[in-house]
């Protein structure tokens, strides 16, 4: 009975962290069939977190960041070739080189790419870079080695802030332009946002908040500076575009899957939905590109760009690909991520944006060691530590058990009078920029859902 699950042809599109860990899990669970991994980059799987840290600091060459294998996967690797389409009826993946890869089950782990600078001509200026791939990081590290007079970082999310931190550590002048009121505010809300702003300025970052870069300026094809929406102008030889990521779903256009700018929707068992919300039996999805319902967060469809989520979701997807229904598992891991910047270790569990209030439960902003706990309608939904990582596991348990917010007293180094304030998380409805869905036709068997890009 379970034999059919352990044989056949499995194709994994996306040969990064999630694709690799899924391939290993498939073999670990006894899959003996044909396994093919497709990756658009020419490199074998590598690790991205060091790219904006060790690599930009100049301590590790970009080429060194490969991922260790947990076990042999005995797979056919098709690297340096993009998947260009999916034919779900014929059960084939189309590759950009014209090959068609037949499959019995498919796993989509195509992840995200850096959101490019919106003006293509300005984006082509020499000195304008992004940091997503190993090649990107290698190019930027070279530029930083050359000692530019000033670096402009556009966007103060985690990647932008880590880049600014690496620049300051190298002694380079850096300007950070952020559209929001503070760095990291989109992910962590107002309390830690204002903490991050003070931290950056204390480390000599020229931080400009509430502004956008309106144009990048060049001369003879080389970047010379930028104009900001407040009318100011900055001279810079290097500009790093750190405006977040775009999910790699375009290759699924026309496949009928629920795939779009927000990712590929799937159930808690990683089975992809088609655009009608009907679950597929043979197409699975994991990692940054997946959107899945999480019961702890109102079954909200979460798409997480987290290292740990890529690993855990890939393992669940792979398990479910080679096991029959009753043995399948849900992906219920509590989200977690980390960042290190300006000498501090920032770690998060839960979903900080799923909150209406926060309190500093331990430590203080002044000592630069603290735990901020987030609550939503009276229960704990997230915790973020700054140089207090050992405490996070405690809060993880509180999140898992929906413990009341604010947390009970009793922790060490708890402030004498903890204050509860609004979490100041930007309204996700305002931030989202997905397409709308419309229905066509009027006969039951002719009804179709179509995606309309937002204008």
């Amino acid at each position: 009975m379970s034999g059919e699950f352990k044989s056949g042809r499995i194709v994994i599109v996306g040969a990064s962290l999630a694709g690799l860990r899924a391939a290993e899990t498939l073999r670990e669970e006894g899959f003996t069939g044909e396994l093919t991994l497709v990756g658009d980059e020419p490199h074998p799987p590598y690790d991205r977190p060091p790219l904006s840290k060790q690599v930009l600091l100049g301590r590790v060459p970009a080429a060194d960041v490969g991922l260790p294998a947990r076990r042999p996967v005995d797979a056919r690797w098709k690297l340096g070739v993009r998947a260009s389409g999916l034919d779900p009826a014929a059960k084939e993946v189309l590759l950009a080189d014209g090959e068609r890869l037949p499959f019995d089950r498919l796993l989509i782990t195509t992840g995200t790419r850096a959101r490019p600078w919106p003006h293509p001509e300005e984006a082509r200026l020499d000195g304008v870079l992004t940091v997503r791939t190993v090649d990107d990081a290698s190019r930027l590290a070279e530029r930083l080695d050359a000692g530019p007079r000033r670096v402009l970082v556009i966007g103060a999310g985690f990647t932008g802030s880590e880049i600014a931190s690496a620049c300051r550590e190298r002694g380079l002048a850096v300007t950070v332009a952020e559209r929001g009121p503070a760095p990291l505010v989109g992910a962590l809300g107002g309390t830690l946002g204002s903490f991050a702003a003070r931290l950056q300025r204390a480390h000599g970052v020229d931080l400009r908040c509430g502004v956008t870069v309106t144009s990048l300026l060049g001369s003879n094809g080389r970047l010379t500076g930028a104009e900001l929406s407040d009318g100011s102008r900055i001279d810079a030889e290097v500009a790093v575009v750190a405006l977040g990521a775009v999910r790699n779903t375009e290759w699924l256009d026309g496949s009928g899957l629920a795939a779009g700018p927000r990712g590929v929707a799937c159930d808690a068992g990683c089975r992809a939905f088609n655009m009608y919300g009907i679950v597929t039996d043979d197409v699975f999805v994991a990692g940054d590109v997946a959107r899945f319902p999480h019961p702890l967060f109102d079954y909200q469809m979460l798409a997480l760009e987290h290292w740990g989520n890529a690993v855990e979701q890939a393992e669940v997807a792979a398990h479910n690909m080679v096991n029959p229904g009753p043995l399948r598992r849900p992906h219920l891991a509590v989200p977690a991520f980390w960042s290190s910047q300006f000498g501090l270790n920032i770690k998060s569990v839960g979903v900080p944006t799923f909150s209406d209030q926060v309190t500093i439960a331990q430590g203080s902003v002044e000592e630069r060691r603290l735990v901020v706990v987030y609550g939503y309608r009276g229960r704990i939904t997230a915790a973020v530590s700054v140089n207090r990582a050992k405490w996070l596991e405690h809060y993880l348990r509180l999140i898992e058990t929906a413990a009341p917010f604010p947390p009970e007293p009793g922790a060490a180094d708890r402030p004498a009078e903890p204050r509860v304030v609004a979490s100041d998380v930007p309204d996700p409805k305002v931030l989202s920029h997905g397409p709308t869905v419309a229905l066509t036709g009027h006969l039951p068997d002719r009804r179709l859902a179509v995606l309309r890009p937002m204008t």
Binding site: D47, P49, G66, P68, L79, V81, R369
Partner: protein, 77 residues
Amino acid sequence: MQIVVDLNRCEGYAQCVFLAPKVFELHGEEALLYAPAPPAEQAERVRRAAAACPVQAILVGEQAGAGAGTGAGADVR
């Protein structure tokens, strides 16, 4: 040799820093930096560090898919 540290698990005990200081380093109080491809002469120290990690956050192995990434459209088993 290739290593990766699960920094979600890492709690900054720094056992690895004591056992293999050329590979693992604390950056500030508790942020861990490490060399993902340590030289061969560090292999034994790295293995000891991985074994000693209280939260078992260090994964040591050979590079995954090595040899697969040679040129565009490489098709290697």
